[in-house]
């Protein structure tokens, strides 16, 4: 087939809402875009284990501790689903990890903020996972098969994450005055960083146009952000807390809330490495990887030896 014929088959698939599979022909830029997006997503899951892992040893009850352990384990699993999806595009696991460890690849800016109190664990589950789910529900229908299938699995598991976060917020919000203040403080600190998770406004988002054209994304950053605000405000009201945005107001005409944009200058600073915890997160990832080197080496040596014994016999 001529190149243009391959392109026609590819475009035809997108037009018919069919999935693109690893062995199908795809334009180089589509492949590159996917590798960047899926690996960023995978790295976010893995780095996302760190702010929550921070509270495992200090969870206020055994129940809270097992729940948090299960959640952090899930995030690790989600990272692995996504890494294998990215690998189907022709990049190796070592290369993917190396890109994370050297700072060449990015991960979600949200995980560069610290989890200062137990209420932050509630806010992360409720808001951060809530925002992630909004994005991931859309990605279940993304055009690349392995990515879409990983998302289906992830979405099934994520809903427990958001619910456990909201449960923590409920306990604190209906607890003592100090507990409620702690919940409000967490909401104040996590609201805008969560809003940034959907990415820059559509007009300034460099990757959005291709992502929509190739059906990698089906909703724009601003559409998802609006959806998140609409969904979350009633939950804030239920808790008796206040969204830290004086401009937040129901707009009957658009059947949604008007809201203030997050500080995009701060967003740029955080993704360029200058957030409150960037250095700490990267150092923790590198240390974990380096400390685990002997395990990989031992497993490799063991497998090699067994193979030799097997082949000799």
């Amino acid at each position: 087939m001529e190149l243009t014929q391959f392109e026609d088959v590819f475009e035809g698939k997108l037009a018919k809402n069919e999935m693109v599979e690893p062995k199908d022909w795809m334009p180089d830029n589509y492949r590159k875009h996917l590798i960047r997006q899926i690996s960023q997503h995978a790295h976010s899951e893995i780095v996302g284990m760190l702010p929550e892992g921070n509270w495992i040893t200090r969870a206020p009850s055994l129940r809270a501790k097992v729940v948090l352990l299960a959640k952090v384990q899930d995030e690790g699993g989600h990272g692995l689903y996504l890494y294998t999806a990215a690998e189907t595009l022709g990049i190796s696991r070592d290369e993917l990890l190396d890109n994370l460890h050297t700072g060449k690849a990015k991960y979600s800016s949200i995980f560069n903020y610290p989890t200062l109190t137990w209420a932050d664990i509630g806010a992360v589950g409720w808001l951060v996972d809530g925002a992630a789910i909004m994005n991931q529900v859309m990605l279940q229908r993304t055009s690349y098969g392995p990515y879409a299938r990983a998302m289906v699995r992830i979405c099934k598991e994520e809903s427990f994450h958001q619910r456990q976060g909201f449960e923590i917020m409920t306990h604190l919000s209906f607890g003592t005055a100090d507990q409620k203040a702690m919940a409000q403080d967490a909401l104040n600190r996590w609201w805008y960083p969560t809003m940034m998770m959907f990415g820059p406004p559509d007009a300034e988002s460099p990757n959005s146009e291709n992502a929509m054209k190739w059906r990698i994304k089906r909703e724009t950053n601003d559409q998802l952000r609006q959806k998140f605000v609409n969904q979350t405000v009633p939950q804030v009201e239920y808790l008796g807390l206040t969204v830290p945005d004086a401009n937040l107001k129901w707009n009957e005409a658009k059947k949604g809330y008007d809201y203030s944009e997050p500080n995009w200058a701060e967003f740029k600073q955080v993704i360029s490495g200058n957030g409150p915890c960037n250095k700490e997160r990267l150092a923790a990832r590198n240390k974990a990887h380096d400390d685990g080197a002997w395990v990989r080496e031992a497993a490799q040596a063991f497998a090699k030896k067994r193979k030799e014994v097997y082949e000799a016999a």
């Binding site: 087939m1 599979e21 062995k23 199908d24 022909w25 299960a70 384990q73 899930d74 699993g77 692995l80 689903y81 294998t84 690998e87 190796s92 696991r93 070592d94 290369e95 190396d98 299938r149 990983a150 699995r153 598991e157 080197a293 990989r296 080496e297 497993a299 490799q300 063991f302 497998a303 067994r306």
Partner: protein, 95 residues
Amino acid sequence: MSDNQGPVWEIFLQKKAGQPFVHCGSLHAFDKEMALQNARDLYTRRGEGVSIWAVPSNAIVASSPEDIGPFFEPSNDKVYRHPTFYQIPDAIGHM
């Protein structure tokens, strides 16, 4: 860059006894035991399966997407392989 993640394995899960094994994803492991244990930890954290197959990725033979026409073509014109091709008298009812 050294490859120290081990080979890729494809994982198939059987949801319940008697049901077919369905592909659920892949993972890295150095040997069979590790492949099974990793598959259990990665793909059955919520009772998703009662049995696991782990198959080295490079052992799988797959048809090519370009084959879609010629490779499967022989079955396209054989409508008589389907039960709806045959007329059964109404009096007989369900068959």
